[in-house]
């Protein structure tokens, strides 16, 4: 469904749009099946030898995603774009961290944002309010972004050389882990109310991430969570993880994260 006007598109194909730039053209993403309810008479006979042919395929099922991800990566490299894929469960504060980061750094760094959600333009509108170029991908029923969606979105964004591209994935701690988007670094965000054992409950995401941001540390006095235990679990899954402990609301700990961002462009 179109996030702006509510008119229908096929829920299975992603909709990519910019806030305030909706011109009411929807692609026709579904196919109409051609049902053969009648039979055709068939007057000649066939020799019927059922020749089975064995084809050795040995092909990765995610190969198409990988190929386009590599293409994205090459594009980012050529244009000196530092691309980040932000993943977390819904409600960990991906958009809040983004908003805070953009507000504080937008005078020093040129940012572009791709927002991924199943529905609505809400997140893109939040970023748009900061005057940062943003594009929303609505995946419909899809539970993750794939590299072809990012490829299409990047083409529309017309990113300047030397920028940071923030790709906020669909809030989901399982599926996005399998899909390389071509990002330079994958950032997994976990918030303190989620509990310390998230990394071992959802290990795939922590295994594939480079950076782990622990958000909502301002809530620590009210929670019964052992931060050291959380990090220990995460390091068991991925010994190379680097941590930032932040609160996007109070700004505590954000400087270390900013320093890391600046050191990468």
């Amino acid at each position: 469904m179109c996030g702006t006007c509510g008119c229908g598109t096929d829920g299975n194909s992603p909709v990519i749009q910019m806030p305030k730039k909706h011109d009411h053209q929807h692609e026709h993403g579904h196919e109409h099946p051609h049902n053969h309810k009648h039979s055709h008479s068939h007057n000649h006979s066939h020799s019927h030898d059922h020749k089975h042919k064995v084809l050795q395929i040995e092909q990765d099922i995610l190969q198409n995603n990988q190929v386009l991800a590599s293409r994205n990566r090459g594009y980012f490299e050529a244009k000196n774009i530092f691309a980040l894929n932000l993943v977390s469960s819904p409600g960990s504060g991906k958009t809040s961290i983004l908003e805070k980061t953009l507000k504080d750094l937008k005078n020093d760094i040129s940012f572009y944002v791709i927002e991924g959600d199943q529905q609505t333009l809400n997140d893109a509108n939040r970023i748009d309010a900061l005057n940062i170029p943003v594009i929303q991908i609505n995946t419909g029923k899809g539970c993750h972004l794939e590299s072809d969606m990012v490829y299409d979105a990047v083409k529309q964004l017309e990113i300047k050389n030397g920028s940071i591209l923030m790709i906020e994935n669909v809030g989901n701690l399982v599926c996005p882990s399998m899909f390389d988007l071509g990002e330079n670094k994958r950032i997994v965000i976990i918030s303190t109310p989620e509990g310390e054992d998230k990394p071992i409950k959802y290990p795939d995401m922590f295994h594939t991430a480079d950076i782990c941001i622990i958000n909502k540390i301002d809530l620590l006095p009210y929670l019964n969570i052992d931060l050291e235990k959380l990090k220990q679990y995460a390091l068991q899954v991925n010994p190379n993880l680097q941590f930032f402990e932040v609160s996007a609301i109070t700004g505590e700990g954000m400087q270390a994260w900013y320093h890391w961002l600046k050191s990468n462009i």
Partner: protein, 113 residues
């Protein structure tokens, strides 16, 4: 439910290869899936019939070779079976390891007619 994406990825490969071989349909499809590939086999079973309906794969027999994940310890070189990413080396207890198999997600072969 990324298994739908996976099933559609398998279908795409099957359709391309069947067309290349000038065949009509797939009799047998053999997949290799590692235990750390992130596939929930029940979900794949659940989604399969709707993903392959009215396609070359509709009546194909599906065979899955499950590949047990193994890791090599970076600290002591010991090779061991792992069931979870956080399994540490049974010899030296290190968490530093390279996954040497178990992430496969591959169409191995097709038998077409």
């Amino acid at each position: 439910m990324h298994e739908l994406s996976i099933a559609l990825g398998i279908l795409k490969i099957a359709e391309t290869e069947t067309a290349k071989a000038n065949a009509k349909k797939v009799e047998l499809i053999e997949l290799e899936i590692g235990t750390l590939a992130g596939i929930e086999f029940d979900s794949l079973d659940f989604i399969w019939p709707s993903a392959v309906k009215n396609t070359v794969l509709e009546h194909a027999h599906r065979k899955i070779n499950i590949i047990q994940a193994k890791a090599k310890c970076i600290d002591c070189d010991h090779i061991y079976k792992i069931n979870k990413y956080y399994d540490s080396c049974p010899i030296c207890n290190s968490s530093f390891k390279g996954i040497i198999q178990g992430k496969e997600l591959r169409v191995k072969l097709l038998e077409v007619t």
